[in-house]
Symmetry: C2
Subunit: 164 residues, 2 copies
Amino acid sequence: MRRRTHPPRGPRLASGTVAPVTDRVDELLEQLRARGDRVTTARRAVLVELLEAEGRHLSAEELVERIGPKHPDIHLSTVYRTLEFLRLAGIIVQVRVDRDAAAYHVADHGHHHAVCATCGAMIEFPDQVLRSLVNRLARDHGFVAEPRHLVIDGRCAACAAADN
Amino acid sequence: MRRRTHPPRGPRLASGTVAPVTDRVDELLEQLRARGDRVTTARRAVLVELLEAEGRHLSAEELVERIGPKHPDIHLSTVYRTLEFLRLAGIIVQVRVDRDAAAYHVADHGHHHAVCATCGAMIEFPDQVLRSLVNRLARDHGFVAEPRHLVIDGRCAACAAADN
DNA sequence: GTCATTGCAAATGGTTTGCATTGTA
DNA sequence: TACAATGCAAACCATTTGCAATGAC
């Protein structure tokens, strides 16, 4: 609620690629240093993978798998601790669907998910779709909603059409 | 999605109490019989407790504790299976907050929760607060939202005031 | 009588924790 | 150097599952 930054994915380069993930990682790690937190191999590695996933959510397990080749010594429990740390630091967001393993993504752009109860499809929708809900909670209950990640269930267009 | 029933809590009696829980239980069990499903002691017991909790959500563990005195032989695993069965039947709704044990309540009145990230307070709000969100998902994505229970985080009025 | 449901015990699987060691500042 | 962060192994705990016994229709 103090963060007003809304950093774009990064400046586009001629090739159509974006500024190296490393830059963004360094930027985030700098935030940690500024807070007086330590910058470690594990923290950097986790951020690199999350950023390279480009919005795809990754679980702790998936992260160790991806980190493995580069840092075979980074343990699953460390990844869990790192994720919790980054979450508390407000740098990443945790996503829960059902009882599946929690997944994480960088907190850049607020977004939410609608999950199809029939086929499991997940569609993403932006923060602003929640605006009226947020306003109403504020008006009616004085509740200051800060939806970091919300999951709503129902049926995707295809399954709704298929009826059944 | 075929259920259009919106049974009131039960007819008010002169005393201000409502029709006995048993009536409501029988009504629900009748739904099962109609579907060709079996009515068992465990299913009745679980429904009785959920109805007697009057809206308070109960976990599987809490349910066995409450059922214990009357039916010491109803096992935790049976309660889990029963809850899953009733959920699929559309009779109860499962509620998840964080990694806590899942909790359940009868599917009577749709409602949702706003959870305070600071003090943990939960405020309840009715289905209709989600109307514009639901409409928008339908319009923009063809997604037919059927929010059975949604959890949104933020700060309750008190904690928001305390700022910090 | 038949087949779903249950009791029980054991397995699962994601996540957490205790502790000695390592690495950052 | 000092103290936070990590590796590892073991613990946790809600939930699930296999199987034989039981109960509903």
